[in-house]
Structures are given as C-alpha cells and as structure tokens.
C-alpha cells in the first residue's frame, strides 16, 4: 500500500478521495448502527454520550487528515526563503497584510523563530512586517481551524481565521509605526548573513502530494490523541456537569472574563490540539465563545518559550510591547465575539 502510494501518488489520491467522501457521508448512520448494537436505552446520557463520541472522533480525524494533507501541498509551494523574497521592499501597510497571509501558508516552527527573524530583518524587511509574520504563523493553526470547523461549524472557523489575521496585521502595523528598532539587540543589525541561492529544483506535483502525505503522518500522529481526549471530555461531561457551571465566571455577563482568560492564557503553552479538550469542556459548560477563543488564541499564539527564544534578539521592552499589543488584540476579538454570539 505504502509503496503503491509513493509510486503513483496522484492516482492514489484520485482513488482515495471518493472513498473519503462516501465514508464521511456515511459516518452518522454508521455511528447510529454502532450505538444500536450496544442495546443501550436510547435517550439516556450514556447512550447519547457514546453516540457523540463514535460520530465526532472519526469525523474530526477525517477532516483533519484532509485539511493537513491539503495544507501540506500548499506549503510545498512556500518556503521561508521565498516568503522573504516576496516581502522584500514592501511598504508597511501592504507588507503587514501580505506577511500575515504568508504567515498562514509558510511552513514555520517556533524553534526557527530566531534565524527567521534575523534573516528577515537583515534583508531589510521592516520590523513591523516581520512581526506580522511571527504573529500570524503560530496563531492561525490548521489543527485549531479543523477542530473549530468540525465541532462548532464553519462560521466559527472563519471568524477565528479572519480575526487572527486581523490581529497579526494590526499588531504588526502598530509595532512598525512605533519605530522600535532601538529595542532590537544591536548585534542583529551587524550580522552579515550569508546569501545563498538554494538550487530551486523542479518539484513534481507527485512530490508535493508526498509532502502532503508526510504532513499527515507527522501532524496527525502527533495530535490524534488530544482530539480523542477532547471529544471524550466533551461527551463525558455532557449532561453530567451542570450546563451553566462556567457561565457565571466565563459567561457573557462577566465583562472581566475576557482579559482574565488572556492573562491566564499567555504564560500557558500548549499545541493547538492539546488546548481543544479544555476549549470543548469550557464551551459545553456555558463559557461564552469569545472568552474561550481569546483563551485559546493567547495560549497558542503567544507562548513563553517563544518569547524566551526571542530574548536573544530583542530587548525586554520590545518583547513586552509585542506581547502587550497582541494580548490587547486578542481581548478585543474576545469582546467582539461575545457581542456577536
């Protein structure tokens, strides 16, 4: 099977896609059939919890596989080197917009934040534009996007993505306008980075498909367990813990809940999948969407390890401004969501 896919990647995808669609459509009846096999009394908590679990787990995992595969292919067209080339010579505002969008599609790992920061700044990309990229890249995460889509619908997913982009654009623009170059460690501007032209070998489409498959192997293997736990938490507490358990502290009426969620979320660090069980549990129990989303964004978008890494190139003032501007952006998004929903 593996050999065949590697040999005929395009054919394998064309064959597997209809199979995926049929299975996806058939998930609800399959889950219902499975539940009725157990002879549990319908309508009971335990039955409905099981039904929710056996339907949501394969659904979200299938969506995740498809999206991660697609993103893997898209990312094979973008490399950080290429993104730098595109961003070179762009003015502040246009640069912020472009950098935020590219932050979503360019492969990025926070462990590469320093070489990337240096490489961008050194090639003359404005500080604010560089920050737009560094904010968007972790904040808008395909795993979080799939989960929001799968569990709460496309509107929530779209709002998450668009507000994340907006925060990256505006925060980067603000940082750019504040002219904070003086808070960058001086050695950064003295570095003479080497410039190499990586031989751009022609990549066949079949190789891009393999890149997509690799992305699935890497990401799905890492996050599936969190998803199962998250959905189990959702299914488990459904009907057991009082519905409005969290409503008084994280509901809409508690105006201070959004800033509080961000203050708690910023020092916390987790990958997008790890946070989902908590998100699921909070929402289920009456916490409002804006508050929970603000919490999630601050956990995955701003992380202590990354800011510590950035300390090597940025003075503490700039790090605080960076965290502050992004946190304020997230708080605003939280309030907007609470207002809409």
């Amino acid at each position: 099977m593996k050999k065949v896919i590697e040999k005929y990647p395009l054919g394998a995808v064309v064959l597997l896609l209809p199979f995926w669609i049929i299975l996806y459509i058939g998930l609800q009846p399959l889950a219902d059939a499975f539940v009725s096999l157990t002879n549990l009394p319908p309508g009971e908590h335990i039955t409905e919890a099981l039904r929710f679990f056996v339907f949501e787990v394969p659904k979200v995992l299938m969506l995740l596989t498809l999206v991660v595969f697609g993103v893997g292919i898209v990312r094979s067209y973008f490399s950080p080197e290429r993104t730098r080339k595109i961003l070179g010579g762009k003015s502040l505002l246009a640069g912020n917009v472009l950098a935020s969008l590219l932050g979503v599609v360019t492969p990025f790992c926070s462990c590469s934040a320093i070489p990337l920061f240096l490489g961008f700044v050194e090639s003359g990309i404005p500080l604010g534009v560089t920050f737009s990229f560094l904010i968007a890249a972790p904040m808008i995460n395909e795993v979080a996007l799939v989960l929001l889509f799968g569990l709460f619908g496309w509107k929530t997913a779209l709002l998450y993505m668009s507000t994340g982009l907006l925060i990256a654009m505006i925060a980067g623009y603000v940082i750019g306008r504040l002219t904070l170059e003086k808070y960058v460690e001086p050695w950064v501007y003295e570095v003479k980075a080497g410039h190499f032209e990586m031989v751009e070998e022609k990549i066949l489409f079949s190789q891009r498909i393999i890149a997509g498959i690799d992305a699935v192997k890497e990401i799905v293997a890492k996050v599936w367990i969190y998803i199962v736990i998250g959905i189990a938490v959702g299914a488990g507490i459904h009907g057991y813990v009082p519905e409005n358990f969290m409503a008084s502290i994280m509901g809409k009426s508690a105006w201070w809940s959004v800033p509080l969620a961000v203050i708690i979320g910023v020092p916390m660090y987790s990958n997008a999948a790890g946070i989902i069980p908590i998100v699921q549990a909070l929402l289920e129990k009456g916490a409002s969407l804006g508050t929970v989303l603000a919490f999630m964004m601050s956990v995955i978008g701003l992380s202590l390890p990354e800011t510590i890494i950035l300390k090597k190139v940025l003075k503490i003032q700039l790090i605080l401004i960076f965290v502050g501007v992004v946190a304020v952006g997230i708080v605003v998004v939280g309030y907007v969501f609470n207002l809409i929903y």
Binding site: S79, P80, E81, C111, S112, F120, A193, G194
Partner: protein, 80 residues
C-alpha cells in the same frame, strides 16, 4: 566530504543528525559530520529555518529532513 547540520536544538535537527550518522555508518560513507548549534554561525549560511544541511560548504536543504535516497545521492554523488 564534510557534512554540517545546522540547528540550535529543535527536534527535527536531532532527527536529521541521527539520520545522517546512521546512513554514514550503514553505507560506510566516511563523512566528516559536524553539528553547528551556534546561532550566529547558522545565520552565516543564510538559512531561515532549521535544520539546515550543508555539504562541503553548500547549503543543500533547510527546514526539512530530506529523504534517505536524496541524502544518499548527495553524499555519494558529490563524492564520486
């Protein structure tokens, strides 16, 4: 042949180093392997994401772990 792995300690960097080392042994390639962890050194090669793979001073890849076959072509190809 001199092979340098550029990376300040991310998981992928370690994977790549292990991979190169085991290929080196399995195929008796006689490579001179060096791990570069100093950021300023890494930046000199102009890469934007780690791990970077440098063979005899030329950057071959960055930000990814190349496949075994690809690595072997590089290791054997330039050597011959």
């Amino acid at each position: 042949m001199k092979v340098q792995i550029l990376g300040a300690g991310c998981a992928k960097c370690k994977n790549l180093e292990q991979k190169v080392r085991s290929l080196n042994e399995a195929h008796h390639l006689n490579l001179e392997i060096e791990k570069v962890t100093d950021l300023q050194e890494i930046i000199k090669y102009g890469i934007l994401s780690t791990p970077g793979l440098v063979i005899d001073g030329t950057v071959k890849s960055s930000g990814s772990i190349p496949k075994d076959e690809q690595l072997l072509t590089w290791f054997k190809g330039t050597h011959a």
